[in-house]
Symmetry: D2
Subunit: 342 residues, 4 copies
Amino acid sequence: MMIVMKPGATNEDIESVVERIESCGARAHLSRGDEVTVIGAIGDREHVQRLGLEGHAGVQQVVPILRPYKLSSNQFKSGERSVIEIDGRRIGGEHFSMIAGPCTVESRDQVLTTADAVAAAGASMFRGGAYKPRSSPYSFQGLGQEGLHLLAEAKERTGLPIVTELMDARDVEPILEVADVIQVGARNMQNYPLLAEIGRTGRPVLIKRGLSSTLEELLMAAEYVLKEGNPNVMLCERGIRTFETAYRFTLDIMAIPMLKELSHLPVIVDPSHAPGRRDMVLPLSLAAAAAGADGIIVEVHPDPEQAICDGPQQIYADDFAAYLEQVERAAAVAGKVLSAAA
Amino acid sequence: MMIVMKPGATNEDIESVVERIESCGARAHLSRGDEVTVIGAIGDREHVQRLGLEGHAGVQQVVPILRPYKLSSNQFKSGERSVIEIDGRRIGGEHFSMIAGPCTVESRDQVLTTADAVAAAGASMFRGGAYKPRSSPYSFQGLGQEGLHLLAEAKERTGLPIVTELMDARDVEPILEVADVIQVGARNMQNYPLLAEIGRTGRPVLIKRGLSSTLEELLMAAEYVLKEGNPNVMLCERGIRTFETAYRFTLDIMAIPMLKELSHLPVIVDPSHAPGRRDMVLPLSLAAAAAGADGIIVEVHPDPEQAICDGPQQIYADDFAAYLEQVERAAAVAGKVLSAAA
Amino acid sequence: MMIVMKPGATNEDIESVVERIESCGARAHLSRGDEVTVIGAIGDREHVQRLGLEGHAGVQQVVPILRPYKLSSNQFKSGERSVIEIDGRRIGGEHFSMIAGPCTVESRDQVLTTADAVAAAGASMFRGGAYKPRSSPYSFQGLGQEGLHLLAEAKERTGLPIVTELMDARDVEPILEVADVIQVGARNMQNYPLLAEIGRTGRPVLIKRGLSSTLEELLMAAEYVLKEGNPNVMLCERGIRTFETAYRFTLDIMAIPMLKELSHLPVIVDPSHAPGRRDMVLPLSLAAAAAGADGIIVEVHPDPEQAICDGPQQIYADDFAAYLEQVERAAAVAGKVLSAAA
Amino acid sequence: MMIVMKPGATNEDIESVVERIESCGARAHLSRGDEVTVIGAIGDREHVQRLGLEGHAGVQQVVPILRPYKLSSNQFKSGERSVIEIDGRRIGGEHFSMIAGPCTVESRDQVLTTADAVAAAGASMFRGGAYKPRSSPYSFQGLGQEGLHLLAEAKERTGLPIVTELMDARDVEPILEVADVIQVGARNMQNYPLLAEIGRTGRPVLIKRGLSSTLEELLMAAEYVLKEGNPNVMLCERGIRTFETAYRFTLDIMAIPMLKELSHLPVIVDPSHAPGRRDMVLPLSLAAAAAGADGIIVEVHPDPEQAICDGPQQIYADDFAAYLEQVERAAAVAGKVLSAAA
């Protein structure tokens, strides 16, 4: 933590800041410049973060130096990248994962048709929502338990591991019976009790970045899970909110290389929600793969026109094999190979 | 819902859209312009919202016409404004509410000193957090149950109704024993199971706008509570995320008149979190009151330098009476009078 | 400038940074913490800013300490506030200015009717655009020279100083014949040749904040004018671009107190362009005045339904007197009095 | 233009809107729904855009239907894509252009070394700034005329066409002597007199998207050039401003496929300015190429540590050949081939 003093700060102001730092158990380190004085607060991270000097007399600015996350930081693993293994599929490192399936579990026929198609084409895992966070209370909220049973059937049939969303800590038990990867949706990225609960399960988790969360906040969300002893965390970029209205969200492609510099955790990209329309899913998937993403989670439907939810953004199950083939080519440019069962 | 066709859309494209509309139980209404054709989909709101025509052949754009919220809309009460009564204090209409207290409940002494000070100055309600959503799992997470007991003691002593945050649906029972108003934090604004649970309690609720939530999404969050039969909802603007880094969040003062046009629900402003510093709390409070806010929820501490959390933004308990007096003058410009017990 | 080294930075990395700092004529100041080393670069501002150490081996982050503006900073006038005098009207300090007039000069009748109305009600200055920056090349681009003549006539008739926009450095001469205050529009806030040209004229200037410019960038734009020896600069907040689509721009009310802390220059608010609609102009004006703005620049039209440009946001000339009276009450809460000719 | 009436709009309100539409020479088309009435205004685009009905009694919302640009729209060329030819190099269609060179022209040695390196590696054009828009008036503002001479020398030596920025319409003549492509910087994207001036020259132009400009605004800027009879316009995405502070700007990768859907003009990507750091330039370039960009404009320097401006983001001239080779592989995934002299 660096405390930048105002140009007109008095010696009393400076001494008072030093005292506050020392009273918190940290060391103060003065650096008097020609125009301003900067005071470094050195010591235990938690002590330093509690200083609360922003409003102090003579203080112009408080600049954090240490990043607030530890277990998710690159330093924690000394630069080595985490590779998560799920039922023989590897996520991270040189492996590229293709997680595909419908937005929402709607019916037995829809789930199994999609699962068959993505399995045949070589997808790494199967996704589908049984509990759906909907901005309107009048919208379809998912099939719930019944949806989970259909996912279990898809898994039995295709062997694909299942990725599905948990919205409410009170539903954790039924989800654990089916999910190989628990998905935390963008709206729940800062639902801390939920994150801690998932951390305690030890089950792999894919955390979607909140639609206006910074990368640092995403890594702090991962930290809530890691701190409970669960190391199997995947980060997911899915688009952020900006002023641009030509699309629903703006996919932040820069998050891929930046998260890889900040953290050892695998980075997955969702190319479906940001555009909200099918014709942009392929170019965004190619961009993500070429930029070095560790995988993609994409929405696929056998008949998107009849989908209950988010139809326009789901790609046709019939087009999936060709789509996957092209994405593999882009991943190869970044040095990655499709992950499949060993 | 208006469906704008592309300039090159064929008659088949147009007919196919009309068919899809009619198959959903709505009526189609064609309007052929010189350059483009626009098709109105008229009928039941839910049916229309499920059309999913964004990806359809020949469709350029789908423009929603009806607002997706009903119970929170101004039309629902035919323009009449909701006034919520809490222990004799009125929120809304010509009443201006001052909700004051510490960010976090830290100790018996801190809570009671603050409660005495704000009660003596004429505050309408007392606020304080027992459960705290913290972006870091290493930060102080609140006193929990013990904090709730201290709030109960403050209420008994001063008579002020209590506003406190609920973060986890599993904590709803102890919160109900103390809270006159349940607060939903910005990070939980789209925690739909939590909102529905609070809706079922019938207890008044103050919902903070998510830091990148649109006003429409805020009203949809309110809708989740209202739909469960709980009409006692207050909306709270607390700053949104923008590109500007000179402050933590940008207080959206325009939300006040706009929410009042869209909705009958009272609008409260939190002037503390956006700046994150005390010296901006007064000008922002005056701005909010002059713009017609129905109240302010502000952080006050007897000794902010020693606060565990958010010290720099809490105003001194000793300054509170003078602060309140000036805010009342600004509220008077907007035609409002401080709300107190009858 | 503080250079934060990566946790794994080697001694060579550190020495290399120190060398680079010293080779630029600055002094290096090391601060070795438990986890990271921070190096302060102390010395002449320009030298330090050219270090370009962001990509250097072992460097994690470069944190600027000194603000890049000087003449516009509060320190430059040791905390004293600039008061600009224009034809006997004072802008800044305890003076509140009301600058009113049509968006665009359309006709003699429109200009003179509006000028009479705002003069009669007590406005401080008259505004009107002869050259208009329009996002479409097919839109009306202003009356140009003819518009300037009409503004000159309005001034002769009412005695009100004229505020009008300059878009092109090649038009500076005719503008100087009429404008008491030159307006720089939001889209030209970073048009540096234009700013420097205006600086050389010495004429008072009102610089509108770019729609996604930071406050620091606004102050740097002011610096371009001040550096040429023109001290008569007013800053103008007019709304920034955010994700919210309920309004055209989001008025940043926090800019008022923050600019006053950073700078000695007067701060004016434009309440018309952000909402783009008349009914929000009053609450936003009250908010701005209560928050301590030094003035308001508002659009007024005798018959907005027939306005060529931005009709919906212009208030009726007939309503102006009542509007001004209420704004004066809000300004009084912030300790300010309407500025008029001496 | 669709005018959505408020639920409570009266028949008089509706008739008054219809009258206003007809008085502007357009046709009104009523569509009465169960809850709201929508009125279509059909007719000449300019007439319709002048209606100004946003503030009208009973009007809830005005929804534009026609896009405000014509010459830059995809319909204008019936879906055919523009291919611009510059000295034998083709931009657009299946051609991928690599425009490379230093941020700023600093010295003869720097310019020629860089030009030699990028020419040898196979770049399509050479870039370099002689006039530099700098946010600080105290920063180096470019070599001006002398810089232009050095660019001319580089061109003579390597045969590469030159891309350089024009900031001030008064400098157009010397720029025309050297520039094969005139660059309009992000800060000047809405400098309409400058755009029109460039339009009149007929010279190819590359327009950078303003840092918070919508794609529609970018196309309107192109329209200013096209309207003057200059068809040689390239659009350039270079990062937008968002809340994320981990990078300077957020590269909007979605702009690539979206601009291609909206417009026939080529789309170039600048991967250097958004990150402001070299190590992210490659992954962003790969992403842009894979997403279908028509080219990249990248900063290259023989010795970035000594660069006067933006050193950290410039890639090493020595690394350029390897960089270009990898970018070509990503462009191939999108079906494109590097553009070179015929």
